[in-house]
Subunit: 441 residues, 2 copies
């Protein structure tokens, strides 16, 4: 069952900023709208672990006072924002989606949260994360599954599932997430919003609980791509031009990464062709298999490196599925990790060739629409495939390569959102967003 | 049984260079001396896998012609040099000490060999390496054990055992080696010569067969420390000053790394005190255990990453001992490698404190003198300890930390050489060599 639209549906950050400065609204007003929507809609969504009404209203008042006094912190000033519960916010519980962190309240802000505050944003609460961000479905968490606003019987995707659901439901206009193999882009695609995973380390991961340090990226989710760009610029101070020349876009036939649901692929393909037919390219021979193997190996070893003592001392505090995955990951031998790190370097070098004649590659974000909560296999044609593989295979390569990747809404299949994923080389973010603008015009 | 001294005993590179330029000798003469000594002495030592008489005499003639024509390539011009068989020399077999490489003849020079040639050095042959450099004893190799010139029934140490034996026997005045956990310094100490492992990557490892890429260092062995410095400067182009202010030397009580043979420790300690009593320091709490564990974990995983296919396809071509070690190393889980790489960063940061009040740390190089060939355990007091652990424990920490480390002859115990190891921070090489000069004056 879909839920009714919240107050921020269709309102871009640019529009909200204008309204705030034109006196048509206040940060307090926006924050009250967000808090009201959370109270009304979240029981059905479980997008939030913690809502900080008091702190948010205080911050909103301060933002309003500053604007009134002529101090303008820029595009995020006074904007309500939700923060994934894997990211530390001083004074608010951070559960990491796990019972291991019951009662944990960090004393300081993550670097990205500190940037949000400096930019005048209002933090309204913490959003549900898949347990320790270790899963793309968003339905395993100490506080329960986050649910898809388009059909609350279906998964939000994950691991930043609460952020995806909160933005898609219009509870907030912007949320922070993290993305190790697709954890910003997958819930964005499944819930029908825009999500941006920047280049590696473009936004500091300091104060973010690690899943796999060399693959973890902090990213942003918003209703549209330009709002993601606005937030990205505020978070990094990067001078990405708002406008850029037309990007040369190619369609990447990603079927050797994963042969997705043909209807989903067709919707993404149509969006990619909406401003003219792009050339079609494929990955180099062997690339797909190698990049997926590299992803699994690096993620497995680095995840266990984070959790080994917890696995030993308090295995019962893990959810069953995550513990089982970690135990499997603990078996990966060290020499394979060494190889994977070497392979990553080679893959990054080889990936350059993909961009020789193109600035932006377009492909589906997730290969399927949102499955029902708890579903672990889906039928594709005559085959049955694991849901996790179907969700991650088209996004995780760009974590291995550390390239910026953006998902934008491309349409629907049977009423469920489909994402178009756009990828560029680091440094070409302006072209990436110009392509998004053109294809969603 | 000791062997008779070869032609280069007691002749420094500076002296040889002077003699060449004063017309007292020629490169052809020096090369003939080296080839003659190899023919006479090597049957007892097995220091050489390959002697290239023809190539060496050609290179020597070219060096002589150049000098006669006024072209002077510097301190290594016309000097006979031996190269460890793990390092590729174009046109000469490179066995890596293994039957896996029987008949392999590389087509190009390793980067360090190319530098040698540019500097006018004469390559006389390839020296015995412990099989794939995977062992500190030097007595496991496809071409048999290299032997200690001081007692041919004893091991040379390894893995650059042939280089150590060849220099110590006076067959050549200089040899190249590699050092992953002590493989230049251990044979230098056990055979009674000087050996220098520079800072990580100071000499390129390009064209060197890897043991453990992030720990592998290319180094030099010579009769005295200043000859090592001369060779190091020629190989790197580094402008290490020949003279430096007096280094502040401290004695490192390394008993928590390994409690060595008290007589060996006493000889090294006396050498360290030969120019005044140094202050004594210890490693920080927990440092020793952590650095040794980090070494083992990184080396194990990286070594198997090099050999996994050979282990699978042709295990019978490995020597039994090396294969057994590799099979054990293959069991180390990936997450432990991830931890070890993180630990290394922390250890490098923590090691800075050791040098807050001192420029150079002095400690024994190997904790024992050369054991008999094939011996795998030694008695120390009431304990029996593995030979490999006794040989490596005082050298391998500086591979983990990537600090420059030099061994110089410190004296003997029961007629067998003892090395004094001197360690500095990267960039302090001039102080390191000035300390060596002062302590061996």
């Amino acid at each position: 069952m879909p839920i009714p639209p919240g107050p921020f549906i269709g309102r871009t950050l640019a529009r909200l900023a204008q309204d705030l400065r034109d006196g048509r609204t206040t940060s307090t007003d926006l924050t009250e709208q967000a808090l009201g929507a959370a109270a009304a809609l979240d029981p059905a969504l479980n997008a939030f672990v913690t809502v900080d009404g008091t702190g948010a209203l205080e911050a909103a008042k301060a933002a309003d006072d500053e604007l009134a006094a002529g101090r303008d912190r820029g595009p995020l000033h006074g904007i309500p924002v939700a923060v994934k519960d894997l990211i530390e916010v001083a004074g608010l519980p951070a559960t990491m989606g796990s019972r291991h962190f019951t009662g944990y309240v960090p004393g300081r802000d993550a670097a990205c949260v500190a940037r949000l505050r400096e930019a005048g944003a209002v933090i309204v609460g913490k959003t549900t994360t898949h347990e320790f961000a270790y899963g793309p479905t968003g339905d395993r968490s100490a506080n329960g599954a986050s649910r898809n606003p388009h059909d609350t019987g279906r998964m939000s995707g994950g691991s930043s599932g609460g952020s995806g659901a909160a933005v898609a439901a219009g509870i907030v206009p912007l949320a922070l997430g993290t993305d190790t193999g697709g954890s910003v882009r997958i819930p964005s695609a499944l819930c029908g919003v825009a999500g941006f995973k920047p280049a590696y380390d473009a936004i500091s991961a300091d104060g973010v609980f690690p899943l796999s340090r060399s693959l973890d990226h902090v990213g942003v989710l918003a209703g549209d791509a330009d709002s993601c760009l606005t937030a990205y610029r505020c978070l990094t101070g990067d001078e990405v031009p708002e406008r850029a020349e037309d990007a040369r876009v190619a369609w990447l036939d990603a079927s050797d990464l994963f042969a997705g649901d043909p209807e989903v692929v067709a919707v993404a393909r149509a969006a990619a062709g909406s401003a003219g037919e792009p050339p079609e390219i494929r990955l180099p021979e062997g690339f797909a298999e190698e990049v997926l193997r590299t992803y699994r190996t690096i993620q497995s070893c680095e995840a266990v490196a984070v959790h080994a003592e917890r696995m030993e001392r308090a295995p019962e505090l893990f959810g069953e599925e995550v513990l089982e995955r970690l135990r499997g990951a603990a078996q990966v031998p060290g020499w394979r990790y060494v190889r994977a790190v070497q392979d990553r370097e080679r893959l990054i070098a080889a990936a350059g060739a993909l961009f020789e004649h193109h600035d932006v590659l377009a492909l589906p974000t997730a290969a399927i629409t949102a499955p029902p909560i708890d579903r672990r296999e889906v039928a594709l044609g005559s085959e049955t495939v694991p849901v996790g593989v179907a969700l991650l295979s088209l996004t995780c390569p760009w974590n291995v390569l550390r390239f910026p990747a953006l998902t934008v809404p491309a349409g629907t299949v049977a009423g469920l959102p489909v994402g178009l994923q756009l990828v560029s080389r680091p440094g070409d973010e302006a072209l990436l967003f110009s392509a998004a603008r053109r294809l969603t015009a």
